[in-house]
Symmetry: C2
Subunit: 422 residues, 2 copies
Amino acid sequence: MDKKLFQHTSAPLRGKGIGVSATALGIADASAQGWSILHEDVSLPAAVLRHEALLHNLEWMRRFTAAYGVHLAPHGKTTMSPELFRLQLQSGAWGITVATAPQAREAWLAGARRILMANQLVGKANMAIVAELLRDAGTELFCLVDSPDNVAALGGYFRPQALRVGVLLEIGAAGGRTGVRDAAQVHAVIAELARWPDAVQLAGVEVYEGVAPDEAGVRAILQHTVTTFQQLHQAGALARRPALVSGAGSAWFDVVAEEFSVLAGDPGIEVVLRPGCYLTHDVGIYRDAAKRIHASNPVARQMGSSLQPALQLWAYVQSRPEPGKAIIALGKRDAAFDAGFPVPALHYRPGTAAPVAAAGHWKITAMMDQHAFLDVGDQDDLRVGDMLCFDISHPCLTFDKWRHLLVVDDAYTVVDAISTQF
Amino acid sequence: MDKKLFQHTSAPLRGKGIGVSATALGIADASAQGWSILHEDVSLPAAVLRHEALLHNLEWMRRFTAAYGVHLAPHGKTTMSPELFRLQLQSGAWGITVATAPQAREAWLAGARRILMANQLVGKANMAIVAELLRDAGTELFCLVDSPDNVAALGGYFRPQALRVGVLLEIGAAGGRTGVRDAAQVHAVIAELARWPDAVQLAGVEVYEGVAPDEAGVRAILQHTVTTFQQLHQAGALARRPALVSGAGSAWFDVVAEEFSVLAGDPGIEVVLRPGCYLTHDVGIYRDAAKRIHASNPVARQMGSSLQPALQLWAYVQSRPEPGKAIIALGKRDAAFDAGFPVPALHYRPGTAAPVAAAGHWKITAMMDQHAFLDVGDQDDLRVGDMLCFDISHPCLTFDKWRHLLVVDDAYTVVDAISTQF
């Protein structure tokens, strides 16, 4: 099987976490180098994507959303990788979700022509970036609105340019993040939209259910979203055909699929889910979510397999200053640390046959910019120069630490590389 | 005065936090665009460096270290900016400090020919990167050692290549990070070094005092470092002339200067301090440090002025969903959040004359990947589309969120830009 998955950008391969080469390489050259993590061909720390797990997750989510008859617009903010965006689009994604105007441009440059900016679009320069994309007649772009002020700003910007931006009314929750809180706010937004039909098109309704504190709260805001959507749809307020309804971060996408499935059969409606972390998954917040999903969601149960952690970090033991402590050359510059520290998965001593499972009691207890503190047993055989492979929690804040990630096979040989464009 | 400070790389200007242009720009083009933050020419969020404050801080540290007769090798891991490295070198820096081999390469590419890698050098690929730099006869590079295993690995790698790497013995503290803990560990390292005189040169002694819990602890480890240095120096164990002694992160550089001043007058000794955050300073951990410094350090008191916060973030209010809450389009993707959240400094409503001071009670209470939650008063006049300028805490973890930072004058007009190479 050809493991060179990606259409590459022309980005030079430069910086940390790549193989050492006597000549200047582009990112497309990585696949031909034969670099092996275990042979120490790569400067550690390095971030790697497990090829098989990545493809498994891609297919898992394709089947899951297909089973519910819903569309997928993966949140691109997670990876911000043109190569991964293309992979997701080739795998049938309806579009790419982003959080900002510069991210929208990156998604467009990677080939997305349906872009869901799951955020308010604010500021002239950000609107100018979006305007540039909208001038391409083949591009649909939707942003969120939750205030008349923002609708007026969008209308005032796009009308003089004879452009029309799609918007989704964002449903919020009291104490939550963005989004309208009550009927009065809905009406105020709808009233302002009526002033700008040529410049701001209400295409549907959106919610980010992740602000709710628990499953009951998640279901409540989703049901409220369905109700609001149906009211607007039946009132003819949604100008796009089919009308859009969108929800789902990476933790509750199954519940969103369930709750929105009442709308999914209607040809006049497109249900769009937008998880971002499924592609790499993790062993922290999203593994916890997957456990809940497999315990409760019938489609996931029927599919048997689950998402697999595909993003790992390799690093060296750099110091063993005290018996129960190892200092690892891996820091806040390399890994997310806001939702649990990296978790040792494998231990490899260069020159030995193969990695072995890391001891279950090895645990990172603190991280600095460029170091991690690993608690180990006083008698454990862990030496300076040994390599550790870590699983991670929170892919988003790990991806943004890397300009390149290496794609590896099961033997941790580099078969490809991807770039990020944060 | 010419505000174009920098020798630029050829990096394309792409991504977030830059001005909108119809044509593809390189980073060297930014100065000619006349972009104004206040006129909304720039996509927010954006990271800006205040030109005058940057130059002030540069000069302040030059004078401070000169007063103590010590050298400066600014820690490059903070900014990882070739433009800023060159500025520091032009301002008289002895060299550039880094934390990893890829960072060492970036420092070298930016022009540094004395590179202090204030970390252990581990792994074949990392050693290969360093070997490439050492083949330039005009380059001196020093890394840290704290174990015989690491010394043996360095010797085994560099001897066959007929290269010699400089090393500093790292002094550690019980319960701390890296570094030797006791005389037995010192002797073990020295004994191993004796096996590799041609390949591993003991050039001096290093300490990172920031692992100590308080000033008494900091002074104790510094004094222990001086004693160890003197013993090794007098024993003829330090092969470089002048011998090196180095300490100082960004919080205790004054105390390091004081404690190491007993060595600074000796022409056979080079004292090298390596703070990294002084160049941009902050309003969090390093402002706290500056307060202590000005209360206790006679040189700093005599200099009168203090370091100034030079790194700021501009962002939009994107939603005002509840009376006491504003949602800001600024997240963990844009700012450090591990040592205090960004602090509102200025409030600007596009179209008005000038920014005003942000209300003192406005406070970020939480951050998500792309959003910040700002507590405001129920009656405060803060609208969707308003701009806020934030000071930050922890420059290191802010810089690494940006591939470009704009340099601005006091009116927040863009006068230049810098790149980062994380």
